[in-house]
Structures are given as structure tokens and as C-alpha cells.
């Protein structure tokens, strides 16, 4: 097998028909499968799986990825090596599947719970009275913006992402939106919070230093 094709050769071979295409597909499949195997084998969350199970998982991910790569091959712009571009697609596919599996049994309510950001732990033991006053001021500012200037969807999205660590693709689906719109929703919320702190003469960096 060979993977030292030029980008142009990869594209020509994959878009050819018959044996030329079959050989290129097989080469790409093997290349991805081996690398995915080494990557998956080293993931701490997959330690419970044995070698055969990891190999099967790598084979399945590689197979799915090659189908996507074939479909998208006309979108390859040649900014990187073809194999790096293909690996990017395989990584996106494989990690997307792993995240989906990890979050499969979590309900919509849990994902979008309107949780509280009220700090449950503050590092105040060594804080001076001035620092404590500043901490209270920062907390009050943030809570005020959260409650009065962010929409319920923004609060839900921030909470799910930041507190629960819900992957954005999954959260977007649950919130009936798409990942880009979700990113914008949260980005707008972060910008609003940041601006209000700055309005009060505090940069987030200053605020951080008060709590560390």
C-alpha cells in the first residue's frame, strides 16, 4: 500500500473508477484505521475496552469517515496534505460519535436546566476586607446581568456548556438550533457580561485576580 501520493494523485485516484479507486480507498482506510486505533487506545475514557474492541471501533470510524471523505473530496482546497485533511474529517466523525455515546442517556431537561451560577465556593479565606468587598461587587454584577440582561436561552446554554460540559453539537440539537447559532448565542452572552464588568471599571482579568 502507499500513502505517499501527492494531493492531486489522491484526488484523481479517489475520483477514478474501478481498481484505481478501490486501491486508493483501501489505502486511505488502512491509514486512518491504524492511526485511529493508536489514538483510541490511548484515550483514558476507553481504557475499559480491550484491544479487539478498540480495533473494531477504529475500523468502524475509519469506514464511516471514508464515506464522508469521498463525498466531500471536491471540497478539498489543498491547504494541507490530503491525508491531514482526511484525518481531520475522521477525527470530527469519531469524536462526534464518542460524545454522542457519552451523552446518549441524558435528558433534555438536564441538558438545558436553568441552573444557578451562584458561586458555591469562594476562595475568601485569605482575602482582605477590600478583596471581599470587591468579590461581592463582581458576583452581584455578574448575577444581575445573568438575571436581567440575558435571555433564558442564553442562561440555559451557558449553564449546559460551562457547568455540565454538554458538547455544542448535541446541545444545539436539543435546543432546536445549529452549532453556529448556539455559539453566537453564548458569545453574545459572554460579551454582555464582559462589557458590564468593564462598565464598572473591572476587566475580567482584574476580576480573576480578585478570586485567585
Amino acid at each position: 500500500m502507499t500513502t505517499d501520493r501527492s494531493n492531486e494523485t489522491w484526488l484523481a485516484d479517489l475520483q477514478a473508477i474501478g481498481a484505481q479507486q478501490d486501491a486508493a480507498i483501501q489505502d486511505l482506510l488502512s491509514w486512518l484505521e491504524r492511526r485511529l486505533f493508536y489514538y483510541l487506545r490511548d484515550r483514558s475514557d476507553l481504557r475499559r475496552l480491550n484491544g479487539d474492541e478498540i480495533a473494531q471501533m477504529a475500523a468502524d470510524f475509519a469506514q464511516d469517515s471514508v464515506l464522508i471523505i469521498l463525498k466531500k473530496s471536491d471540497q478539498f482546497q489543498g491547504r494541507s496534505k490530503f491525508t491531514t485533511w482526511a484525518a481531520k474529517i475522521a477525527v470530527h466523525q469519531a469524536l462526534g460519535e464518542l460524545r454522542r455515546a457519552r451523552w446518549r442517556d441524558v435528558s433534555l431537561d438536564e441538558l438545558t436546566a436553568d441552573g444557578s451560577f451562584e458561586p458555591d465556593f469562594l476562595n475568601t479565606e485569605q482575602a482582605t476586607p477590600e478583596q471581599k468587598a470587591l468579590q461581592s461587587d463582581i458576583i452581584a454584577t455578574v448575577m444581575d446581568v445573568m438575571q436581567n440582561e440575558l435571555s433564558e436561552r442564553q442562561r440555559q446554554a451557558l449553564y449546559a456548556r460551562l457547568v455540565l460540559g454538554v458538547p455544542s453539537g448535541l446541545l444545539a440539537e436539543q435546543m432546536n438550533t445549529n452549532p453556529n447559532a448556539l455559539y453566537k448565542l453564548i458569545h453574545d452572552a459572554r460579551k454582555r457580561l464582559k462589557a458590564r464588568l468593564v462598565d464598572r471599571g473591572l476587566s475580567p482579568e482584574d476580576a480573576l485576580s480578585v478570586f485567585s
Binding site: 500500500m1 488502512s30 491509514w31 491504524r34 492511526r35 485511529l36 493508536y38 489514538y39 490511548d42 491547504r79 494541507s80 496534505k81 491525508t83 491531514t84 485533511w85 484525518a87 481531520k88 475522521a90 477525527v91 470530527h92 469519531a94 469524536l95 460524545r99 451560577f117 458561586p119 458555591d120 465556593f121 469562594l122 476562595n123 463582581i138 458576583i139 455578574v142 451557558l158 460551562l162 457547568v163 460540559g165 458538547p167 455544542s168 453539537g169 452549532p179 453556529n180 455559539y183 453566537k184 458569545h187 459572554r190 460579551k191 457580561l193 464582559k194 464588568l197 476587566s203 475580567p204 482579568e205 476580576a207 480573576l208 478570586f211 485567585s212
Partner: protein, 82 residues
């Protein structure tokens, strides 16, 4: 790290203009290759670097891509040759 601290850290990293996850994914292969060739990607593509600091999924995919493309030739070619 307290949740509140985490939130403040995110605000400190927040920029007026940020790339979305799909924009980052679009450039990720290029970014990783530039970095692997020794370029200072933090200076060349600061908006990419900023997103990778703020977004756990894109960071995970970046780490995975670096690892997967960095595997060759030691382990992989030994098997491919067999």
C-alpha cells in the same frame, strides 16, 4: 476551580470577534500542519488559538489531529509494512 472562576476565565478570553466551531474546523488541518512545521501559529492565527482555548470540543479535535498525524512513521509504518 470554582464555577464562578471558570466563568470569569471565559470572560477574560472573550473577544469581540471570534471564529465559530465550523470556521475553526475548516482551518484546523492547515493550523496543525503549520504548527508541526515549526511556525508560530499563535502569532500567525491568533483567532484560531483563542477559540481553541475557549472551546473544549475544538481543542479535543485539535489534540487528536495532532496526535493522529504525528503518529507516523514509527508505529504505523511498522504495521503497514507487515
Amino acid at each position: 476551580m470554582s464555577l464562578f472562576y471558570k466563568l470569569l476565565r471565559m470572560l477574560a478570553l472573550t473577544k469581540e470577534r471570534e471564529l465559530t466551531c465550523s470556521e475553526v474546523n475548516e482551518l484546523l488541518d492547515y493550523y496543525v500542519e503549520l504548527e508541526q512545521s515549526g511556525e508560530n501559529v499563535k502569532a500567525l492565527m491568533p483567532t484560531m488559538t483563542q477559540h481553541l482555548r475557549i472551546c473544549p470540543e475544538c481543542k479535543e479535535e485539535y489534540d487528536a489531529l495532532k496526535k493522529i498525524t504525528g503518529i507516523e512513521p514509527i508505529m504505523a509504518t511498522a504495521q503497514e509494512a507487515s
